[in-house]
Amino acid sequence: MIYAYGICAATAPPLPPTCRGLGGARVGVLQRDGLAAVYSRHRTLRPEPTPAEVLAHERIVEAVMARGPVLPLRFGTQLATEERLATALEERREELLRTLARVRDRVELGVRALPAVGTPQRAGGERSGRAYLLARAAEQQRRDRAVHDLHAPLAQLAAASVVQALPAPPALLAAAYLVDAERVAAFRAHAAALGAEHGELHVVVTGPWPPYNFATEGDA
């Protein structure tokens, strides 16, 4: 059984031999036609979405990212054999190469905005249907405003961006940005300035992340 972490260029420098993946497994690289996939072999593996295991996946992806562009695979990607992995690389070679070129020298930043003060959350108490609908509408308005006030200006600093249509409450905005590595500081500064300007929002910028949200061509 193969567990795969990410895809990079075949020319990427190798990972240090001390790198360990899920379950402490040794990490190997499979090369095919200019592409490389980073993976580990397992007798049995049932990945669980616990923070520890997801972090183990993330650490390998980040180690690859430190050496060049990477396309992170979704957590839980398993294949029967190395040959299956090689076939997957072959089948999508052109798309993978194009996407690798797009994320080169860029990183993904995350922006999440939460209500800064005790604005009414979706309370559990009794509510009339009308009050419920009004509250729903008000919530949608706050999300729209966050997109307008925060996302729109930040998207201008990014090569690409995606917004979650319905961020997990209480977040009003959850968005990802593909940003030139050299513009990360400027992006953070701008986000902080916008957060200060809009005191009703608590703005958190995270990253740099591997480009999970920009790893396939369908992404914005």
Binding site: L73, A80, Y212
Partner: protein
């Protein structure tokens, strides 16, 4: 600087949610014999609990700062 100290853990919690969102909900999916062991509903639930759990910490410093909660909306 107590604000600073209270904000750091919340930043970490947000980062964890952001990581789970990405690793579980984005990234390249190799079609075919991929085994995704996770049901979507579990992920949403997990992500939700983490965000909600982090709210008091996130709101703490802001509430101390705020003199005038926006009661108007």
């Amino acid at each position: 600087m107590s604000d600073e100290r209270q904000r750091l853990p919340s930043q970490r919690e947000v980062a964890l949610v952001e990581l789970l969102d990405r690793a579980l909900g984005a990234g390249v999916v190799i079609a075919g014999d991929v085994t995704l062991t996770l049901a979507d509903i579990d992920l949403v639930d997990l992500s939700l609990r983490l965000v909600v759990g982090s709210v008091p910490t996130l709101r703490g410093p802001a509430e101390q700062r705020a003199q005038d909660p926006e009661g108007a909306s």
